[in-house]
């Protein structure tokens, strides 16, 4: 059961009669968790637009067979950097933005445990993103190995690979510092009475996510450091020409890569678990089981990496282990989906934009989960490996999973962030266009994959033409509908529609019950007491 709090005291600071730093200085040197959260959120949106432009270039090229707009080498760079930008530049920073904004407010802390390190974490992300995007403009073009950075391709390309490896190192360092901050804050700075099992689920999901990050980011850093020595210092860890083993890199990469998927999706579970009870007007069903399910998913994520590489020729026992371990993840995930549906069951539901995105998340993420189960079956995966079925699967998990819940969270907390209400009609239009565009873009990719269309190719056989055309049309609908979201957020910030302190009438989370809207620059003058 999450926190039941006493009536709102005047424990918050009204900053309308207190000054705080302004202008460029405020944003450059800020140590305030809300400022840093805002920086992360805007940064991730800019990167989302950049990654989105790359996606639209990919889909424009694939609109019909033959080479239309881009050369094959550039196409490979587009798919690679699109993946890296969306994972490391858009989704992860968006969740860190939410973590910065919400965790201190939800646990009743004044700020993060290490505010200066928090500032540094953000300002490391910016040069890393510049390195990634700037790699398009160096001789040889951007990395074209796929976001997985597999050798031997990664060993053979030009300077852009070094830029990518440096960017991954910097992003890893930033993530590790952010995770240390989050874990330390949650474990040490909770308000009196805020026991672990009273924390909002978003805090729980981030606590577990931060542990995942700290466990796997250094492993990725180790692997790409060794790639760098293979490229420049004459080693052959992964270079078969020198006696190295490229398959070892794949094992190491996916030991990081699979938990990385959960790093992007666990905070989404927290957001959805906050939104559904608010709009169903019922407490979350099965709070404790949600916590245990989240932890189970995180633990299982360490022992399933082999399902990404069934085709490399692992022993049958290895394939069987990874197949069964992967299927096991469906159990805690099923617990979560059951609990979300039970939360809505017989609730007095209303369907404002955050709720629409949250329900969209449940339906579409479940489809992504099911196609994941299909891919977990070793013999089926050997057939579908590297086809568009895989592309469809992970976009159902990461777009309608992570991205939809980011939109849901933004609409839900925008009144608290800005003190203004967004335009509900525009929000609903954004949802329906996104839902329709997304499904037209990605559902046909299941058919393409089942029919055998390989991924990462700029041209394809004629029999794939029709579904590719539909997929491109859907991608453009989805892509341009995001401009509506941008307009809605800016319009909200500039509007005069004042938001109530607790517009959704949430009863069990400190940011709604104890703080006005917008949340003041410094949240609590005195620590709130949680009963």
């Amino acid at each position: 059961m999450s926190a039941t709090t006493h009536a709102p005291a005047h424990g918050h600071a009204h900053d309308d009669h207190h000054a705080h730093p302004t202008g460029l200085k405020r944003w450059l040197f800020t140590t305030n968790h809300k400022d840093i959260g805002t920086l992360y959120l805007w940064f991730s949106f800019v990167m989302f637009l950049m990654g989105g432009v790359m996606a639209l270039l990919i889909r424009a090229e694939l609109f019909q067979p033959g080479l239309q707009f881009v050369k094959p080498e550039f196409f490979n760079s587009l798919t690679t950097v699109h993946g890296l930008v969306m994972v490391f530049g858009a989704i992860m920073p968006a969740w860190v933005g939410f973590a910065n904004w919400l965790i201190p407010m939800q646990i009743g802390a004044a700020d993060m445990a290490f505010p200066r390190m928090n500032n540094w974490s953000f300002y490391l992300v910016v040069p890393a993103a510049i390195l990634l995007v700037a790699s398009f403009f160096v001789p040889g073009g951007a990395a074209a190995s796929g976001w997985t950075l597999y050798p031997p391709l990664i060993i053979q390309q030009g300077i852009s690979i070094d830029m990518t490896i440096l960017a991954v190192h910097i992003l890893g360092a930033s993530s590790i510092m952010g995770s240390i901050n989050i874990i330390t804050t949650i474990l040490n700075l909770r308000a009196p009475g805020m026991t672990l099992m009273k924390m909002p689920l978003f805090v729980w999901t981030w606590l577990i996510t931060a542990y995942l990050l700290i466990a796997v980011m250094p492993v990725l850093a180790g692997a790409v450091t060794m790639l760098l020595t293979d490229r420049h210092f004459g080693t052959s860890f992964f270079n078969a020409a020198g006696g190295g083993d490229p398959t070892m890199f794949m094992h190491i990469f996916w030991f990081f890569g699979h938990p990385e998927v959960y790093i992007m999706i666990l905070p989404a579970f927290g957001v959805v678990s906050a939104i559904l009870p608010a709009f169903a007007r019922k407490p979350l069903f099965g709070y404790a089981s949600m916590v245990y399910a989240t932890a189970s998913i995180a633990i299982l994520s360490f022992i399933v990496w082999g399902h990404h590489m069934f085709t490399v020729g692992m022993p049958a026992a290895g394939n069987l282990f990874f197949m069964y371990a992967t299927m096991l993840i469906a159990v805690p995930t099923g617990v979560k989906v059951f609990n979300w549906i039970a939360t809505m069951w017989q609730g007095s539901m209303t369907f404002e934009t955050p709720m629409l995105f949250a329900i969209g998340f449940i339906c579409l993420f479940t489809i992504g989960g099911f196609s994941g189960l299909v891919l977990a079956i070793t013999p089926v995966d050997i057939t579908l490996h590297n086809t568009y079925y895989v592309v469809a699967h992970f976009h159902y998990v990461l777009v309608s999973g992570a991205l939809f819940s980011i939109f849901a969270g933004i609409y839900f907390w925008l009144p608290k962030f800005t003190g203004k209400m967004y335009h509900e009609g525009l929000g609903k239009l954004h949802f329906w266009l996104s839902l329709i565009g997304f499904n037209i873009a990605f559902f046909p990719q299941h058919f393409l994959g089942l029919a055998g269309m390989p991924r990462r190719i700029p041209d394809y056989a004629l029999q794939f033409a029709e579904w590719n055309m539909w997929s491109s049309v859907g991608a453009f609908i989805f892509g341009f509908s995001q401009l509506l979201f941008l307009y809605n957020v800016i319009e909200c910030i500039r509007s005069s529609r004042k938001a109530p302190d607790n517009p959704w009438e949430v009863q069990d989370s400190l940011e709604w019950t104890h703080l006005p809207s917008p949340a003041p620059y410094h949240s609590f003058e005195t620590a709130p007491v949680v009963k």
């Binding site: 004044a110 445990a113 240390i180 466990a215 492993v219 949240s523």
Partner: protein, 39 residues
């Protein structure tokens, strides 16, 4: 500027200890993962 409540000295001490411990864990994981790859 509005005064906010600050962590107690005990909380501060615990926070620094947790931070250092987690930082050491990250560095050790980085080094061990490379040593494992070295064989």
């Amino acid at each position: 500027m509005a005064e906010r409540h600050k962590p107690t000295p005990e909380q501060r001490k615990r926070a620094i200890a947790s931070g250092v411990l987690l930082g050491v864990f990250a560095v050790v994981t980085y080094l061990v993962s490379m040593m494992k790859m070295l064989g």
